[in-house]
Subunit: 247 residues, 2 copies
DNA sequence: CGACACATTGAGGTAAATCAAGTTGTGTGG
DNA sequence: CCACACAACTTGATTTACCTCAATGTGTCG
């Protein structure tokens, strides 16, 4: 609280998301061009980064922290439609309005580019355009996988699916493998999980308690999760235990 | 049934999806290159175009008819994750395996390209790559809008949402406007609608009957729909009646 | 005509929502 | 240091929207 996260990743070469973000395929020359137009922004947990319907003046990558994309109906029902983790891209080159709210779920640092210069750079830098297409296709896959979760899975399966996704993304970020027990902190409140899963927060709470009682997960406090057996969790999620890929 | 749909749209210039498909931004020179590697394929209603997990040897555009993307769990629960209408693109340049089944929902004609040559052409034709990114972003928006439908809407709202989407896409294809009553044929069985909406077919049937009883829609036979008041339908869908854009 | 795929309608059961207390934990101010 | 407020969470009782199971209806095609 005392000080903002430091805004001093001045050098792209050392950037923690260098090899996964939109700049992944850039050579050092292209990186220099990006370096010139980039700037960092921090957001505190709970802050709205972009309002649905607003003009988007910038695009950028999540460097650290988590952001969520949410849609809200007039009567207040809300659905989270995306979870943005470090290296994920925010914004839509070529589009003006933002189609959903972007909210900082935890404290957040983003590497931003003003939209116009970025679009121009993209137009003459196939490496960037290509990487962006790749990332967009990945997001589309993730969204469609989520449609199966929302449309057809039970509450228990939904929770197990969410835990397994978070566990896997966490493992791939921290580079601990997927063998042995997995340990991580839930970055979401029960309510945020409910918004992601199309449930109520009470149902989320009940199902987490049930998974805990059945030994599928362990909890210390409300957020610290241990998964003794990842295969078991994936069974609970209704996913193919076999063709399990590690992202 | 007697004869397959004709496979003779030999000239891209006259193609009905020329201005909306992946080739939309191409100049006549680029079009000629595409023309050389393209070929048409027809599928009968019910046929599977691509099996989930299979190698994809081609990509292509829907020329006429409707295809659907579906995901299936081991126990048979299925969720439709995309509805492909004329001009929509099938396939993922740069990826090998297909992530979901592609099924011809009606008789279907596709304009195909072998994957390799298309990828090579794309690499040196920014117009194509750019258009594909545009289209992928649109699909991502559609998928996310659908997540709200699946996660938070009631059965009645889901049906209304589906009808309103089909009505709008139909209007934009046939170029009839959105003023006055809208008339179209449902291209989906009750079961397919259920798979799209995360419902059972019985619930779909009941809600359609209810919307009919309440005068929101008219039905002739089981498939021919008239929507006397589009605004009313969109209210039923829980959508903003105001900021209504016409696709 | 009968067979078949598609659709409707009804009766009853159930998973999850809703409504309603509590509990836990953390930071604030007296 | 304790009392208090507050947000996050848990747990219980009740309701309800949707599912499941089952019977019946409608249209098309050989």
């Amino acid at each position: 609280m005392s000080s903002h996260p430091q805004l001093c990743h001045s050098d792209c070469q050392d950037c923690p998301i260098r090899h996964r973000a939109v700049c992944a395929h850039c050579d050092s020359c292209e990186l220099e061009e990006l370096e010139e137009i980039k700037y960092y922004r921090s957001f505190e947990a709970g802050q709205t980064v972009i309002w649905s319907g607003d003009q988007m003046s910038f695009v950028g990558s999540v460097v650290s922290g988590i952001a969520s994309l949410t849609q809200t109906m007039e009567d207040g029902r809300t659905q989270m439609v995306g979870l943005l983790l470090p290296s994920d891209f925010v914004g839509r080159p070529g589009r003006d309005g933002a189609p959903y709210d972007v909210v900082a779920t935890t404290d957040l640092v983003m590497c931003c580019f003003r939209k116009k210069p970025f679009e121009e750079l993209m137009a003459r830098t196939p490496h960037i355009a290509h990487r962006l297409l790749e990332m967009t296709l990945d997001e589309l896959d993730a969204a469609r996988e989520w449609m199966l979760v929302l449309g057809r899975k039970t509450a228990r399966e939904k929770i197990a699916s969410l835990l397994s996704i978070i566990a896997r993304r966490d493992a791939s970020l921290t580079k601990r493998g997927m063998s042995g027990p997995m340990v991580f902190d839930l970055p979401l409140t029960r309510e945020a999980m409910a918004d992601y899963l199309g449930l109520t927060l009470e149902t989320v709470s009940r199902q987490i308690s049930a998974l805990k009682k059945d030994g599928v997960i362990h909890l210390e406090g409300k957020r610290h999760v241990t998964i003794p057996d990842m295969g078991r969790l994936m069974e609970e999620a209704g996913d193919d235990t076999d063709g399990g890929f590690l992202v």
